[in-house]
Symmetry: C3
Subunit: 320 residues, 3 copies
Amino acid sequence: MFLSKNPQLNSHGELIHLLSTEGLSREHLTHILDTAAQFVSINDREVKKVPLLRGKSVFNLFFENSTRTRTTFEIAAKRLSADVFNLDIARSSASKGESLLDTIANLSAMAADIFVVRHSESGAPYLIAQNVAPHVHVVNAGDGRHAHPTQGLLDMYTIRHYKGDFTNLRVAIVGDVLHSRVARSDIHALTTLGCPEVRVVGPKTLVPASFAQLGVQVFHELEEGIRDCDVVIMLRLQNERMSGALLPSSQEYFHSFGLTHEKLLRAKPDAIVMHPGPINRGVEIDSAVVDGAQSVILPQVTFGIAVRMAVMSIVASHDA
Amino acid sequence: MFLSKNPQLNSHGELIHLLSTEGLSREHLTHILDTAAQFVSINDREVKKVPLLRGKSVFNLFFENSTRTRTTFEIAAKRLSADVFNLDIARSSASKGESLLDTIANLSAMAADIFVVRHSESGAPYLIAQNVAPHVHVVNAGDGRHAHPTQGLLDMYTIRHYKGDFTNLRVAIVGDVLHSRVARSDIHALTTLGCPEVRVVGPKTLVPASFAQLGVQVFHELEEGIRDCDVVIMLRLQNERMSGALLPSSQEYFHSFGLTHEKLLRAKPDAIVMHPGPINRGVEIDSAVVDGAQSVILPQVTFGIAVRMAVMSIVASHDA
Amino acid sequence: MFLSKNPQLNSHGELIHLLSTEGLSREHLTHILDTAAQFVSINDREVKKVPLLRGKSVFNLFFENSTRTRTTFEIAAKRLSADVFNLDIARSSASKGESLLDTIANLSAMAADIFVVRHSESGAPYLIAQNVAPHVHVVNAGDGRHAHPTQGLLDMYTIRHYKGDFTNLRVAIVGDVLHSRVARSDIHALTTLGCPEVRVVGPKTLVPASFAQLGVQVFHELEEGIRDCDVVIMLRLQNERMSGALLPSSQEYFHSFGLTHEKLLRAKPDAIVMHPGPINRGVEIDSAVVDGAQSVILPQVTFGIAVRMAVMSIVASHDA
């Protein structure tokens, strides 16, 4: 037992909110992954449901729209037997001039148990977690450029599933690292779980040298960056970047940083290829690699449901 | 047992629809409040669910958009174990030229049990109630300027919770009474429940003298209107009013009719302050009052779930 | 047992997808109708729910918007105790440039059981069925002009309910047959079920002579077309047709092809009148006929829920 000012933990050091992979111990992360392992098998059963959150109310508060991520949380919550409420925040009281905290206070008063929050502003889930009633748990589903912890955790689950252990791995994260909350969540989780070598790979505009401060190695050349790696995590190139000054064109980007089978030969022969989706085939990754033997992109999706079930069941089991 | 032409009641005088607080007896209102009291405790339990409406189908028909009110009904229905269907009416057959009654007839044929109806036109829920199949119950979730009976009932629940009894209370309703369906539902309920003095308070453009016909006292000055009151119900000032000719500016409105701690001193020391939400802080009410010791605005939200559970379970238990 | 390349059937000849009424045997169709008969009674019960799909995940993938049809599938799935996920496809990854098959692969990886698909392009549900993982079943909820098999089946259910048998019936399908997926699904089902005489009736622009190739009789005059018929199926006239070159005006259309009580006298005295909805009163059908004694339009809606429950429970019970 230890005391902590980490807003994700109660005074017993137990997880009550999931806001970031940063600040969580190896024990916390491992506990989530171990719990998820039990839920993976549930998703293969005839009846894909357990009563762990029966009668609980989960609110999907997506201030930034993302049908896919929202759906994964909705699936996870319903398989835990929770009642799920999808709020169309853009059309609701927020547009009537009500403040974020008044909206949150109102929903809390309806006896909410979990808020799943996506917001375009970094830090919004922290603000919410610090202001909710003690019976409410907050799960960050992506905030600005800051964090996307459930994606980070499902990436860790996938790596552990295929590689067994983190302590002798070389992992490359390739693409628009600068704007990626997924990259940040992956880097913190990998480091905490004991991965000795994390690389970030991309053009200088998207992977500035300052990333070395996070304890990662910076590469500006794809073949060099993924050489001898066990895991290659490709990031989605946002369309809005391609039209801006940061990049010349999607063809040119593909030429330099798109992952092809030929380039993938530089990684270890048994390297796995990951991607958070949705994929831009032919931009950051070649179609043949997406559908190839080393791709574990669809298993990531499957594990993602189990990881979100694990996170929600864990936070809901701890008092503030 | 008595016979009635009241469209809310069956021939035994039992509630089969909730369309308005007007026309309901003190017994009807008290029965709803007493039933709600049992549901308040359910919302504090680990498993916030009772099987009263299991296998029933509740349709949210919101012809006028209101994410928050729709959500409160969805929560209430799911905690009663009903299946809930949210129809995006604006995008549905209504836009294909189908009439309101054809839409209703179709949904009835799908074996609906409860329609929760919000509509911008006063009387729409009555029209629906008079045309549905006998197995369908209608709950008005707000129609035009006419009525918002579940808000009226949750206000009564809140008052009874804090004040115990209506027969020695002085209640002030402050703000845009003219356009408020909440005010109308409150006035009818308060009068029926035996409240001896109901006041309406606001500028002459929003509180015409003709309101006296409803048996209430009309005030055009805030300090005078809330003097020695036990309950102060603040109404939301619709933004569209502020830009019109009815009011000079939101600052000026706040100066005259915004509730501050200083002005609240005119009411009784133990007066409670209510508001149906969403709140315009600094327009009709000062932030410090919203968050102050006399505010019961968040408990109103909590009680609102229980009251809607009570209404749906009561109407569904009676045959037409 | 027989082997088949029909994509709707597994190697045992069992229904694993419902894509079209075309290519299904009389036994398949009759089995669906018989199964639906059991579900009709469930919809009259106090608890309108059976646990057949408990823990299964049904995804409504409506690439073309249709609130009503989506709702009927949602009702059917929830009454089978499935978890239902409505994906707002228009706002989701499809708009981020992801391909249809990548979207489908992702949702499959979330352990989906049934995809209910509506798409503006004919054949889209086939493409999906041929690419889903073996554990996923596809139900076509309308694709382009091609097929709307659950509507066809509910029409068959309705006819069998009122007429008992198909082998001595004369059925007329009236209106915009050219653009109607309902008409195609009805024609295939009626023919397979042994109906000896199917007629299509409408102006030459909407009912070309080439329809005779489907084994139906073509009429360009309403009174003649419905003469001595047992069943008259009126099709909805799409508004967009009326403004185009195909038709002069809705008044003129009503004059020639709108079904009135007077014209209905040409059919058999006990003929039933059907319509898939939503109805254009006064365009393809007179209000008095819609609400008249021969109309079975609302029973169609009721049977539609049961038919969709039957289809989903049948396909989900068979392995690919």
